[in-house]
């Protein structure tokens, strides 16, 4: 039975790659729920299986055990139109313009052409790229490409947006600006967002809830409700509250790295 209000529900999910003695456990016993309209981040060391988890949530790969429920029903295949993904490297098709990249998924979802074009136009406006609709990806900066990718996700009008380290390749300044942009867009659209990052600051700054994942095999080792009020401002990053939350996540992650040393740190 699905929990009421939960848009995403993950139940004792496990993923093992390969079989026999060469099998690698990527994810182990992962359970969490995300409610409608929540902004939830997942942090963890690189290689811990964050992207694998995202791809399972998206129905792109199958879990080895456990299950994922999206709005109460079990995921077995991609859910176009309900789940949109924003990938790490934007994955815009280089032979299509920004505009065509945004309409491309809508074409797959058999949205009529006039609607496709109207949606693409308004989403590119929303991300501030209306003037760049006719540009090709190679003519755009890294930040602009990610904005097109976000516009592409939003245009599909999904319930859920899964974001896989979308700002990971951007410089610090652009990254912060993109975070602010994303919060503004989220505030306007109130989508449920599942956001993967390895930046603790980014996770805390953006999210309602931060999930912390351990090194491989990835497990959820902490769940932290972020109490900072909204709208979030850049100044909050320097606050004591922010620092404490950051330290807590940092300790949890390092505890996983070296259990003996961590035992002392967590108690102190």
């Amino acid at each position: 039975m699905a929990s009421p209000g939960a848009v995403i529900e993950v139940r004792s999910l496990g993923k093992t790659f390969g079989d026999g003695p060469g099998a690698v456990a990527a994810l182990e016993d992962i359970s969490f729920t995300i409610e409608k309209g929540q902004f939830v981040s997942l942090v963890g060391p690189s290689g811990c299986g964050k992207s694998t988890l995202l791809q399972i949530l998206a129905g792109l790969i199958a879990a080895s055990s456990g299950e994922v429920l999206i709005e109460g029903s079990r995921v077995t295949a991609p859910l176009p139109g309900r789940i949109a993904i924003v990938f790490q490297d934007a994955t815009l098709l280089p032979w299509k313009t920004a505009f065509e990249n945004v309409t491309f998924p809508l074409e797959a979802q058999r949205v009529p052409k006039p609607t496709r074009q109207a949606k693409a136009q308004s989403m590119l406006e929303l991300v501030g790229l209306a003037d760049f609709a006719g540009k090709f990806p190679h003519q755009l900066s890294g930040g602009m490409k990610q904005r097109v990718s976000i516009a592409r996700g939003l245009a599909q009008d999904p319930t859920i947006i899964l974001m896989d380290e979308p700002f990971g390749a951007l410089d610090e300044q652009t990254r912060l600006k993109m975070g602010q942009e994303l919060l503004r867009i989220w505030d306007r659209t109130r989508k449920t967002i599942f956001f993967i990052t390895h930046s603790l600051t980014e996770a805390l700054y953006l999210s309602d809830v931060v999930l912390v994942m351990s090194r491989r095999p990835g497990r959820i080792v902490d769940r932290l409700a972020v109490e900072l009020k909204r709208p979030r401002t850049y100044d909050m990053i320097g606050s004591a509250e922010f620092g404490q939350a950051r330290n807590r996540i940092w300790r949890t992650i390092t505890a996983g790295e070296d259990a003996a040393a961590a035992a002392g740190m967590v108690e102190s």
Binding site: L60, P78, P80, I85, T91, L93, P94, F104, A108, Q109
Partner: protein, 255 residues
Amino acid sequence: MRVPVPLMQTVLGALFLGLWQAASSLGWIDPDLLPPLSTVLAAAGKMLADPSFLANAGDTLLRVAAAFLIGAPLAISFGLFAGERVRLQRVISPLFNFVMAVPQSIFLPIFIFLFGIGFPQKVIYGITHVIFVVTVTAMAAVRQVPRSYTLAARSFGWSPAEIYRKIYLPAMAPVIVTGLRLGLIFDIIGVLLAEMYASKSGLGVLIFRWGEAYDTRRTMAVILVVSCATILVNESMRFWEARVGSWRREMDRNG
């Protein structure tokens, strides 16, 4: 001020042709060994109006075209099939490399034992020139399609067949066209070589026959005609390559 590149190229080309003309007409080189450009051009002009020359050219063209039209689709289909199968590629890649390292010309006598010296032998020999390079580039073309494109396309709801058409094909096109261009050039080399070695008709046989007869004027004229034709073919293919791959070149330029 810098001299524009096209101007420099024109000057270089003109210089070469002028030198040729002068060397021969001023007697620096024996005109029987190297006839002047003007004489060769006149011979070429006469040839292009001569039905028997045109028949030979037609035969060569037909062989080249047949080898290409049979070889290229075979190679592309196999390349695409193998490109997605890592294990199969591990098995065949070294074999392909071995075969491609060996000069194909040395196998010509074997082809004559097996297939005689008629049309089929020329076409089969041409096919062997097309098939390897096109297969290898088609396999490379599949491999260079980023997996994230197909993941994204699946999440958008495209079916596997649509992903082939809308993602793989456009992403692979520039590399495949490069392979086709190289395949066509190798094809021409193969067919001409087979014709020069043993044939009853074709441009290769004319070059060989007139060369043997010490008819430098006409030999040079055929060489000139063949050279111009292959340059034209190559440049048209490159134009096509640039069109399907414009996004790719731009990407390289801008990083």
